[in-house]
Amino acid sequence: MSKPSLLELQRWLAWKVAGAKGPEPQPSCAPFVLDQAPVSRDERLEIYSHAFLARIVENLQADFEAVARLAGHERFWRLVDDYITAFPSNSASVNDLGKNFPAFLLLNEISGELPFLHELATFEWSLCEALHTNPPPVAPPQDLSEIPESVWLNARAEIDPSVRLFNFEWPVHEIWKGSTGTESRRSYVLVFRDGDKARFENLTKGEFALLRLLQNGASIEAALEQSGLEDAKTVNEAFARWMKYRVLNRFDFSTEGCD
């Protein structure tokens, strides 16, 4: 038997480490891994395949803590095993590992039993994404103290790039916090980065619509009209909150733009 090339060896070992799924690459390189007592060839290979899956599980467990808790330890391992087979990592960083996990869960049979799971995973992944989103370039502070109301109404908000808005079928933030007895109930959630933390806020339908419209470039006046938010106190409080947390970074007071 001639010795394998580096490519042949790596093709075979990659298959073995990733769980030996699918047909065995040829030539098989098993004879080129020494069987050295007291640790057999299979045990030596198992060290690598176990470490591979354990590392993926560890990282996804950190990113999808609530999904892992609800799926249970053994089932989460199986889910991750199936996931990494369906979506092998193509990134140098483990931070990217979970990007397809919510979509994977949607198509997995576990979604029949836990129908909110893919929305929960979407929410958890958005927290990771928010955390890894670069802040916008630093701009000089704006003096907003003496802006006339008419100018305000024509202004457009610059939304922080970390902001994610969700219209979920389930009360995902409550499930994430550990709520049991879950029933389907629409929820509106804002996720954003605050310093070195990812935060979220449960929104009303009106607040969600307002932020979505602003995110899409509507003027404040148009966004207020279309969102159906009429109570000035509620609007002022929401703006104050979003400006405090830099969800709304800056305002553009030029009259250009489109509604």
Binding site: R11, V17, P31, P38, R41, F52, S93, E129, H132
Partner: protein, 287 residues
């Protein structure tokens, strides 16, 4: 490319981990420098760098740093990943590290990353392949890198030489530096039954630009490089021997799982310092 001797006097450091971030950035430590994992500062997807670069900048204001990669995959049969190199180059420009290193291994194939440090066969083909790629990486980055020996759990029947001969040849042909992981030498020596001192004496010591120390897990029949324990006594003994042979070289302690309070990690690095001082003193007074 000349050997960068400025790394020779970095002193004693540790791996910078999230758990210790606030402690390290909020008050002085007794350590001289920190090593960070390069990929932790890369951006998601095509984005070159992520927001944690701000933390790295704060660390860099206080200490010299080393960038230690885990996904260069220098031994893979895949082409070198241009996006990876672009990210690493951007990180080097932003962080101005004293040392840049990665592992002498491969981590994936066909564009898929297994996120594991997989061993190479010790063959002439692998030497040619890896050394040529290190040369290209060093050209691309415009600086010398260090390559680290990994722990291994299997032996290839078609290997043509010992691991230390393989590493020596790669380092000579690539004209790169070595990051000598003393724990990895010990773990592999146990798993494969070679003499760790023969390993130490077999590598080109003048190329050693950094040393790693760490703990491992004893599974009875074999050792696993887990970085979740204090540095064990046999590894300290091997480190003393290495420091006598090599002389002053930046040394750091890695602790990646079951991470203790920062002061425990700090004490491990200071133990390394005291052992080196003791060895130097003994050498100075020897007849």
């Amino acid at each position: 490319m000349a050997l960068d001797t400025s790394t020779k006097n970095l002193g004693f450091g540790a791996g910078f981990r999230q758990r210790h971030k606030d402690r390290i950035l909020s008050a002085p430590t007794r350590l001289d420098w920190f090593e960070v994992i390069s990929e932790n500062y890369f951006g998601l997807g095509e984005t070159l760098l992520g927001p944690s670069l701000q933390t790295l900048s704060k660390l860099r204001e206080r200490y010299p740093i080393a960038l230690h990669g885990v996904s260069l995959s220098i031994g893979s049969s895949d082409p070198l990943n241009p996006l990876y190199l672009k990210k690493l180059k951007a990180l080097i420009a932003a962080a101005e590290p004293a040392i840049v290193s990665d592992h002498l291994c491969w981590t994936g194939l066909n564009g898929h990353n297994l996120h594991d440090l997989l061993p190479l066969p010790y063959t002439e083909e692998a030497i040619r392949h890896v050394s040529e790629r290190i040369l290209r990486v060093q050209d691309e980055l415009g600086r010398r890198i260090l390559i680290e020996n990994v722990s291994s759990y299997l032996t290839y029947a078609h290997s043509e030489m010992a691991e230390w001969e393989f590493i020596s040849e790669v380092a000579e042909r690539a004209d790169c530096g070595l990051l000598l992981d003393i724990n990895n030498i010990f773990v592999s020596s146990f798993n494969h039954g070679f003499d760790p001192l023969e390993y130490l004496e077999g590598v080109p010591l003048k190329r050693v630009g950094q040393i790693h120390l760490a703990g491992h897990t004893d599974e009875g029949t074999h050792l696993i490089d887990t970085h979740d324990h204090p540095v064990p006594d046999p590894v300290w003994t091997l480190y003393e021997a290495a420091s006598r042979l090599i002389g002053p070289v930046p040394t750091m302690v890695e602790w990646d799982a079951s991470i203790p309070e920062f002061e425990v990690l700090e004490a491990e690095a200071l133990k390394a310092k005291s052992l080196v001082q003791k060895a130097r003193h003994e050498q100075a007074v020897a007849p």
